[in-house]
Amino acid sequence: MAAQKGFFTDTTLCIGCKACEVACKQWNQLPDDGFLFTGMSYDNTVHLGASTWRHVAFVERPVPMKPGNDGAFSWLFSSDVCKHCARAGCLESCPTGAIIRTEYGSVYVQPDVCNGCGYCIVNCPFGVIDRREEDGRAWKCTLCYDRLRADMQPACAKSCPTESIQFGEIAELRERAEKRVEKLHEQGLNSAYLYGANAAQQPGTEGLNAFFLLVDKPEMYNLPPNPTVPTKPAKAAWGSMAVGVLGLALAAIGSALLGGRERAS
């Protein structure tokens, strides 16, 4: 098995150029999402979907970047992507086995197996995966599986001019990300933190293979504050149900035995 690969997206280095969005669409030959002016800052693709696998969020906020900076204003950019969760709701809910975990640890939808049932869509806590209307199947970021197989990095990371999107081995990325947060804290940017870097930080997903460095609440970037893969509590539920069933079974057996004894006695 190859090393586990993923993204570390450092939003403090993002300049909002959207090169990642375009490179992704070009490499994967994705269609447009329609030509709609939203009036929401410079964001006209709005969110991730079946045809947008990288999406840059633009957050205009009436607070300075660092306390003490001039002007009560800052503009945040963040390139969002499929998180390739350690516990992937889409994968776990896929009834056909179309969604698999690859040798790189990424979560991949096999388009020739997907039957378009849509279970994965409701089971993604981030709203990443979606079905394309014209073919009915579910689509999302592949972590450029085809490029990885050819020893190339994903198109978005390759095109990022400022190393905001960093691709690599997850263990190494985590280490780098933690150092980065320390450095930013030293520089006075105390609001910097990692989002989903490991299971401890985000138990609901058991950590993200594509994690982020943010400087404001996750909600500001349209990310859930405490995402939980629905199959995870479901499994716990199955477990407790199993305990319950077992208990009932035991009780039944017990009573049967007792009854038998009673009858026998």
Partner: protein
């Protein structure tokens, strides 16, 4: 830049910005318009540099800068003048650098008068001609030639009267105390550019201004350096050249030129704009910035050469470059006996810059027009006038990827849609040729840092698409065929004798781009061997060279531009990636990175130095100096040409080898940058009674009306135009591509919440924006990124308009340039599109034409009486380099 330092190119390369301690980005939205080069700014910031963005809008650049300084569009000279004053007042200039490497010590003629004394004019204003006679701006007793800028500022004057002598060193005062020395003149000129004035004119608080000025000063000197970055946000003003001059003065005073992490980076608008001035698409220069011959006085070769070669400095070599160019073009036909075919060259009879050409089309004197890689109907100012010009042509050729608005101006232009113009009444015959993309052709790009990078053809062009090279080559062949039977007539000899024999290759029989590079590089005529560089060129016809500054790009018969050695296999200057002119030097004037004795100013800022043992200049970069000339060398009084360059003259292209803080010649509108208001402003000039640049180019005609100079009640808002990352200039390369179009799908305007309230504009709704040139509609984006400015107790609103859209493509919208009038800088004829006035109303454009209230013209408020007799449309000869940014 040419006038200040000797060459029009950016003095540094973007990768060197990582070495900067402070980066001031002004007149540029670098993160949005040059995102790839911006990586080095981000790296510098991560290494601790302070990034300052001075801009009317809070953009993606501001978002990642350490400091954003909102400024009123068009007031940059007040801001930069304020910094100059601050540097002088607080004595934070780099004294040793200033005294030795700049002309601060030079003494100016007794007749010179400053704008402080003459209500905003310098001495020498000729009321009748409406232009300056620059004689009184000269150094005392000498007449140095400008290396760049308007070498023709005295157009029409008889050749004999132009005196030439090398600069005399004794006319200087190294103590900088002489009242007429440049340093003292500078002090007086900017005395009133105080922090209070900056606050009043630019809308920047005194505290914020002082913070910028101090940061800049603290990060300059022996140990530290700072860089300026600009783009068309500076050039597109009627005082644009002087904006850049002001930065040149700041950088000269702080000793930041020619040093790592220093310099002034002119960011070019798109790929190979630098190349299109080096090997020009401009009307007034020949390859390598050699001026075009002028009909009035360049009557023969000797006169032309005499007028253009300088007795001192590098331009003493002029003859070699020119004769080699003629040998490249006319081959064996060019001989000493026939003056190397000098007569074959067309001569200029006037100003044929872009806007004049359009006006000439309208007026019927231009009949045909080639448009390649441009979409002037969308990308050029006053779209209605542009299209009026196109309608008056006999023929129009457009080469582009798509049938652009310029090609289809007769079918769906706004005035056609409105029914004012009927397609069947337009006589112009339009020829459209599909163009090949860069992946479909061999060739080079010359980018921002004068770097030539080769691209190899990846696939054959599809269908009828062809490269420009192929088109021009085959057009030339056809012309030769058409004239073949008339070669007995001397007027056809230029076509007969033109060397047009490039080898062709491939299934499409395309000319070899490398063969063209070989010719550009230059070769010895006898054996066709490539020359080493421009120092090998001769004036006896034994060498041929298509562009002397590119000489060396094909050294040893190797395509130097195709070198791709990665940066981790060489030093940080990366001299083996591509090839930069001149002579592959990456940091221009890098002699200045060492002190007068040739030692680096500091270990931290080491770049080139004098190696006493080897008796030559050595360094990380290729020395931009005569390599064997020791720092101790001083020229004799009899010296001429290159020999006049002393060991402490880093600016080798300048007649005196110095950076020009004061430009004694070379500029039309003054030796020192002076604040004038834009043609259309929101306030009277706070500094001088003269409102606008008295030398600006105006086109006073009915189809190009101007608003009142300031306080026009019909047009109360200041408007500025710009580009977005998501689109490419006039949209020809982006509006047909879904991946880019969806990112910015509609024309919009950016307004502050305060202005939205004042004009009842709703976010996501519609607005109509109006000037006397036209009306457009746009979606509204209300954002705090646009901030109202408070000046003189009043609130001023600025409106931001991107200009990418028009009537064709996947995404459509109105074109912002339809709002802008023809007004231009006098030095380079670049339009003023970054600051003008307009009105904004809620709602969509109504079908009925809006009737504007007629108000008396207040032209008299724009100019004092002495400047009111300007020639209306003819402007004499303009500058040396007349395209985007190249000043």
């Amino acid at each position: 830049m040419g006038t200040s330092f000797g060459r029009g190119g950016a003095t540094d390369f973007p990768g060197d910005l990582v070495n900067s301690d402070v980066i001031v980005i002004q007149g540029s939205n670098m993160a949005e318009c040059h995102p790839v080069a911006f990586r080095w700014v981000m790296q510098a910031r991560e290494r601790g540099a302070t990034v300052i963005h001075v801009d009317p809008r809070f953009t993606r650049t501001s978002a990642v800068a350490n400091l954003h300084v909102p400024i009123r569009a068009g007031s940059d000279i007040v801001f930069l003048g304020g910094i100059i004053r601050h540097i002088l007042e607080t004595e934070q200039y780099f004294r040793e650098y200033v005294v030795t490497y700049t002309n601060a010590a030079a003494i100016i003629t007794e007749d010179f008068r400053d704008t402080e004394e003459l209500e905003g004019f310098f001495s020498g204003w000729d009321e009748k001609k409406g232009q300056y006679n620059t004689r009184t701006w000269m150094y005392e007793g000498v007449n140095p030639e400008p290396a760049g800028g308007a070498r023709e500022s005295e157009a029409g004057k008889k050749a004999e009267s132009i005196q030439r002598q090398p600069i005399q060193a004794e006319k200087t005062d190294p103590t900088l105390q002489h009242p007429r020395c440049v340093f003292q003149i500078l002090k007086r000129h900017y005395a009133r550019y105080t922090p209070e004035m900056v606050e009043e004119a630019c809308g920047i608080s005194k505290e914020l201004f002082l913070r910028v000025a101090d940061t800049l000063c603290k990060n300059s000197g022996r140990e530290r350096t700072g860089a300026f970055v600009y783009a068309v946000g500076w050039t597109q003003h009627s005082t644009g050249v002087q904006f850049i001059r002001a930065a040149a003065i700041v950088q000269s005073l702080l000793g930041n030129m020619g040093r790592p992490g220093g310099g002034i980076l002119a960011l070019r608008g798109h790929a190979s704009i630098q190349g299109s001035t080096d090997i020009p698409t401009l009307y007034n220069i020949l390859p390598g910035y050699l001026p075009m011959p002028k009909a009035q006085h360049d009557v023969d070769l000797e006169t032309y050469l005499k007028l253009n070669e300088s007795p001192s400095g590098w331009w003493g070599e002029y003859r070699k470059y020119f004769i080699s160019l003629m040998k490249a073009w006319f081959g064996e036909a060019a001989t000493e006996e026939n003056d190397w075919c000098y007569d074959y060259l067309p001569t200029l009879t006037g100003d044929h810059s872009h806007m004049n050409t359009v006006v000439d089309m309208v007026d019927g004197s231009v009949k045909g027009y080639f448009v390649m890689g441009e979409n002037p109907s969308v990308g050029s100012m006053n779209g209605a006038l542009q299209r009026k010009g196109l309608r008056a042509l006999d023929w129009l050729v457009v080469r582009d990827f798509q049938v652009t608005e310029t090609a289809d101006f007769w079918r769906d232009a706004p005035e056609v849609v409105r029914g004012e113009v009927k397609p069947e009444e337009i006589p112009t015959e339009v020829f459209f040729f599909p163009a090949a993309a860069h992946t479909e052709k061999d060739g080079s790009f010359t980018n921002t840092q004068r770097l030539l990078q080769w691209h190899h053809k990846a696939i054959e062009p599809k269908g009828d698409t062809r490269s420009e090279l192929d088109f021009i080559f085959k057009l030339g062949q056809r012309l030769k065929n058409l004239y073949r039977n008339e070669y007995d007539q001397p007027r056809n000899w230029p076509i007969r004798d033109l060397t047009w024999d490039y080898p062709t290759e491939g299934i499409l029989n395309e000319p070899s781009a490398e063969a063209v590079l070989h010719e550009i590089n230059g070769y010895t005529v006898a054996d066709g061997k490539p020359v080493e560089g421009f120092t090998s060129l001769k004036d006896d016809g034994s060498t041929a060279c298509g562009c002397w500054i590119y000489s060396g790009a094909y050294r040893n018969g190797e395509n130097q531009a195709a070198r791709r050695k990665p940066h981790w296999e060489q030093n940080w200057v990366a001299p083996e990636w591509g090839w930069a002119w001149p002579h592959n030097r990456r940091v221009l004037y890098n002699r200045a990175s060492a002190d007068p004795d040739g030692r680096p100013w500091s270990e931290r800022k080491k770049l080139v130095w004098w190696d006493a043992q080897k008796q030559r200049w050595e360094g990380y970069d290729i020395p931009d100096f005569i390599v064997e000339r020791p720092p101790s060398y001083r020229p004799s009084r009899e010296a001429r040409g290159k020999d006049t360059i002393s060991g402490v003259d880093p600016f080798v292209m300048q007649a005196d080898g110095k950076a020009w803080i004061f430009a004694p010649t070379g500029l039309q509108d003054g030796p020192l940058p002076t604040h004038y208001e834009p043609q259309e402003s929101v306030m009277p000039n706070p500094l001088y009674p003269q409102q606008c640049n008295p030398e600006r180019m105006e086109w006073l005609r009915k189809d190009n009306p101007y608003h009142q100079p300031f306080d026009d009640p019909r047009f109360p808002y200041l408007l500025t135009t710009y580009r977005l990352t998501e689109h490419h200039t006039a949209g020809g390369m982006s509006r047909w591509l879904s991946w880019l179009s969806e990112l910015q799908p509609e024309m919009f305007c950016e307004v502050s919440p305060e202005l939205a309230m004042e004009r009842n504009l709703k976010n996501g709704g519609w607005a109509t924006i109006r000037t006397m040139r036209g009306e457009i509609e746009a979606r509204v984006l209300v954002t705090e990124r646009i901030r109202p400015l408070r000046m003189r107790g009043r609130i001023f609103h600025q409106i931001g308009l991107p200009y990418h859209w028009s009537t064709k493509g996947l995404v459509r919208g109105d074109a912002a340039n339809d709002l802008i009038g023809f007004v231009a800088d006098p030095n380079v004829a670049i339009q003023e599109s970054k600051a003008f006035t307009a009105m904004i109303e809620p709602g969509r454009l109504s079908k009925a034409h809006y009737k504007l209230k007629k108000l008396p013209s207040r032209e008299k408020d724009r100019d004092l009486p002495r400047a009111q007799n300007k020639p209306e449309t003819k402007h004499g000869y303009k500058a040396f380099e007349a395209k985007e940014g190249n000043v």
